[in-house]
Homo-oligomer: 428 residues x 2
């Protein structure tokens, strides 16, 4: 049996995990894939750095092109990150007939279609299970498990950092800035946390999931994004009282053939399965017309979970190699993209208003909702203990994004409303 | 493009769902599978019965052999149920080069290895995603998603009927016999509910999951089974008070290369993700050495969820047909089976004892535990309001099944213990 030779780009946390799994589970992998698997060469930044796994020095190079151009290598595993330069490596690897396994969500969200087209052209596999929700085999599930169904909604907690932060804020009552500092100290959040807390990381993953789920090409700029940095303890406490959890939710929806993809803080009814996903865990909830509700739960990141997904992809590539069928996955994309308008995008909404504490205010406000056809599920008015305002909390029935925007515009010019403190989508 | 022709054995609930999906989603299926799919012939018991989907009368036959021997047919979908006769149909279909998709857990649990061997011999596919946990693509996940990991534990709520019953008993305080009657009236439980309530249905599914997860041939007789019929409201209320939910749990475990598979009522800590799976929903929790905790949640039965899994299998068969690689899935089984002894099988345990209400009883009891090396996590003693006994509730730390059995034997001959009211495994 000819061994399959692998070139690794990057030997950080995840790359080290890949080396560990391939070495520890040689026998299992042989049983699974039918061929021995050898890590042939590894591109690293610093060839002299001490590693936590034993690696022959002569397998290391500091030039990724050495790996890409190594004629011995059958499969490239890319775990170095980066976008433009990394894309060049991958395109060149595919051009020379090498298969690619990558964990790079940024790359796949931005250039996935170009890379997949290049792969088909060269009859090569590109697999990227690890790019979304680390250890959860959700990409495989969307491509194969639900191939016969029409998926109409995908909701994801796909960023562990923000879910950890929101869980802490909910369970321990700490402020956004305190929990961010703590997450940074624990290494869950980066020194510049923008990509996580402003929802960009989640948006990339949702673009990938929506592309697969709806089989249409969803680009990053199609995703409307709002992060968690403006969430206050007040919001979280109100949510709790009303039976909701505040989660940063990616929501991809399809109505007929128009789609909408958003990432935004959302109040999720606490009886919904996704409401109980806490800490750094990820979960993807999928609604299919035929199957109904399903949810996939697991670790969203980390050395070993992510490496598991990468090596599972590697096993799939090796099986295809043995069968001679690489690069022949049916094209996933076969529908034209049509985005929902703001008039078509419907959801329930939570609004927290600070208003003048005098007679007739509630009547004025509810009249504005009525004017724009927004009906209300519940209204709660109470005095604000700390100042002479009253608070009004409204949860609407399903209303279009357009009508809610119009209501909010009118509220800005309404004398009796001092501030619209918060506005959130509501699910479940 | 030559269409792929399907023969259907059975047109009950699930068969009807398959016809519905294939007709409704022709365009999507063509995009997925690359070939049109035609339901060519259907074997039914009564060809004159009125159907809820429109079907050409000349496609119906009351003899399954007509379908098996129809040379036009490429793929057989078996949704008629049954074991011995059905096995003959399937073996003959494979012998004549037809691929098989089945939802038949009984057949796969009892004769899976023989059927899979016959399939390999004839280069045919046999797929059975729908046989376990209806709409959840768990078989695909175990074969492919975790191919690189070493799975050490699978816990499943894989019988919707009993989970519905236990959920009702927990949430509404109704008795076992009342909830059984209600489940029968709703059609969730059959007139003879034995297979569900005594855990046999779950055992068949666990044998299939353990075989795939541990890649060793687990037979039905390897599964130790206990049903839910002896669970009382008292047990459920005590569980609640201590922070547990009572679930009928299938548990497959591996320690080194020895395995254990059981189905039994289990007290699950209410913070564990599987504890919140309620009603007729199913969930499979998978623990992998590398990936850690994952869980897959969804509908366990029903016309459309089950049909979705069947048609997803059908799409996979059609893709393989186009690639010419049917029957070439790497053999999943490559480990010899070794069952754990009772000395090796470890778990926490819950015991509810009714004892004489006098001094020194607790000391006597705890001494028995100590004698057999069982250490205790918590002990609660309280008077029993309805009679002159006291109740003692013990939760042990991890202890071997053998030592718990010895403790229970001694308890039988201990004067101060009137009854061991309940004994359950504890998880989470």
């Amino acid at each position: 049996m000819k061994p399959v030779k692998v070139g690794l780009l990057g030997l950080g946390t995840v790359g080290t995990g890949v080396v560990r799994i391939v070495e520890r589970h040689q026998e299992d992998l042989l049983g699974q894939a039918g061929s021995p698997i050898i890590i042939e060469q590894i591109a690293v930044k610093n060839t002299n750095k001490l590693r936590s796994v034993p690696i022959d020095a002569d397998k290391l190079t500091d030039d990724p092109w050495d790996v890409i151009r190594n004629p011995e290598i059958d499969v490239i595993i890319e775990v170095m990150g980066g976008i433009n330069q990394t894309k060049e490596y991958i395109l060149e690897a595919l051009a020379s007939g090498k298969h690619v396994v990558t964990a790079n969500k940024d790359l796949m969200a931005l250039h996935g279609q170009e890379i997949l087209a290049k792969a088909r052209e060269n009859r090569c596999d590109v697999m990227y299970e690890a790019s979304v929700a680390g250890g959860i085999p959700i990409i495989r599930t969307l491509i194969e498990g639900f191939s016969s169904d029409r998926i109409t909604k995908i909701m994801g907690i796909v960023n562990g950092t923000t879910n950890y932060m929101l869980t802490k804020m909910t369970q321990e009552g700490v402020s956004y800035s305190d929990v961010l500092r703590e997450a940074q100290e624990l290494g869950y959040a980066e020194a510049d946390p923008t990509s996580d807390v402003e929802g960009l990381d989640a948006a990339r993953k949702m673009a990938i999931l929506a592309t697969l789920g709806f089989r249409t090409n969803v680009a990053l700029e199609d995703v409307s994004v709002r992060g968690i940095s403006s969430i206050s303890q007040e919001d979280i406490q109100y949510a709790k009282r009303l039976g909701y959890e505040v989660k940063l939710l990616g929501i991809a929806e399809r109505e007929n053939d128009a789609i909408s993809v958003t990432v935004q803080p959302t109040m999720v009814k606490n009886t919904h399965p996704i409401a109980s996903v806490n800490g750094v865990f990820n979960a993807v909830y999928v609604y299919g017309e035929a199957v109904g509700e399903t949810m996939f739960y697991g670790p969203g990141a980390g050395e070993m979970p992510t490496a598991t997904s990468i090596v599972a992809d590697l096993v799939a590539v090796v099986k295809n190699l043995k069968l001679g069928v690489n690069g022949q996955q049916a094209a996933a994309i076969f529908r034209d993209k049509k985005l929902m308008s703001d008039e078509q995008t419907m959801s329930k909404n939570f609004l927290l208003l600070h208003v003048d504490d005098r007679a007739g205010v509630l009547a004025q406000i509810t009249q504005v909702f009525a004017e724009y056809g927004v009906s209300l599920e519940s209204v709660l008015q109470q005095p604000n203990p700390t100042n002479p305002e009253a608070e009004i909390i409204v949860i609407t029935h399903d209303a279009s994004r357009a009508s809610i925007q119009k209501v909010l515009q009118v509220f800005e010019s309404l004398d009796v409303i001092r501030t619209v403190k918060s506005a959130y989508r509501v699910e479940g």
